[in-house]
Symmetry: C2
Subunit: 210 residues, 2 copies
């Protein structure tokens, strides 16, 4: 029997980040209501009491876990769009690539599933996310579309609706990965999926070259 004495170290700086990472993992995996704070704390290597030293409540922890991460990427994509020169379609490619590199490949990839699952229970968070992520992402794609239509690169289309049709497969990829994707035995082919989406899109959007 090992009477392992609990080595309690004082690491005030590192705690918030570690707790947030642990919380995000647990919330994404189990959902908000089914996540126990004891588990989050254990996952971060501290006790539940310590968790309450840094976050006032379960809901506060939830909000913090969701708000870190994605929002900065929108700003980066806005910068990419602002400085872009080249075809409008290549802008769409760039935006998608950056999104994938900064979100799709990271631990933040689980956030869309979490948002979708909990939006009804947390209207305030849903509103925040809608304004700061969805609306800005839609604006970026919409501007690229408008630019392409104006220049004659893209066909005329219903911009607002097309935005959603373009974004949906990208979001669905992330959501899938954290839900039914776990039922598949074959490894997911993310890059092929995104490439196929873009290829279909290119032929669907672009005016044929003469």
């Amino acid at each position: 029997m090992s009477t392992a004495k609990p080595v309690r170290k004082r690491r005030k700086e590192a705690r918030p980040g570690e707790l947030l990472a642990a919380a995000l993992t647990q919330f994404v995996e189990k959902g908000y209501a089914a996540t126990r704070l004891d588990d989050v704390a254990a996952c971060a290597g501290v006790s539940k009491g310590t968790l309450y030293l840094y976050y006032a409540s379960k809901e506060a922890l939830f909000k913090a876990a969701i708000q870190e991460g994605i929002v900065p990427v929108l700003a980066e994509n806005e910068a990419i769009a602002a400085s872009h020169s080249g075809s409008s379609f290549s802008l769409l490619e760039k935006l998608l690539d950056h999104w994938w590199t900064r979100i799709g490949c990271t631990a933040f990839a689980g956030i869309p599933k979490l948002i979708v699952a909990e939006a009804q229970n947390f209207p305030e968070i849903a509103g925040y996310y809608y304004t700061n992520v969805i609306a800005r992402g839609r604006a970026l794609v919409g501007a690229a579309l408008q630019r392409g239509v104006s220049s004659g690169e893209f066909r005329q289309c219903d911009i607002e609706v097309t935005i959603d049709v373009i974004i949906a497969p990208v979001l669905m990829l992330l959501i899938w990965e954290y839900s039914l994707g776990r039922c598949e035995q074959q490894p997911a082919r993310h890059r092929d999926y995104l490439a196929t989406h873009l290829a279909l899109l290119q032929r669907g959007l672009c005016v044929p070259q003469v």
Copy 2:
């Protein structure tokens, strides 16, 4: 003050269906863990004790609520595909239209969101759903694609990946409706969305007519 005496009626036949409908509504709205059986019972107009007369546990109720509804529609779509004559693209249109009529427009439309949210907590249900809904749906779309490629109607493409890219916007539409869609003030334009998806797809998939 009305001391409304509770009129308790005996309706053994109607209870299971009413409980299932109430349960589905509540589960879709709040998620599994956050749904209280008292609420489900109240929503169905009975007491919690009555609920346990018909379903052995919360989990049993959950399974029953999910399993009714969607699976029969797959069989219907399989029949549509089997009896189809005409272009492969028009088959895709037919399948989508039937899915929308029988699922997208109904109370079952919330099931995809529920599955996505709870798949990790209920691997058994996720597996059932994957086998009986996802795999069969993919097979249908895959067969239509293969048919189109073989006849020269569609370009060569990676069938397996294209299936997912085609299905994703349709699933995302339903999921959206029960999550962040609630944040939008403008009414959703489902039919335009589906029409745009199909239009992009047609130009993306089909070999141009000479």
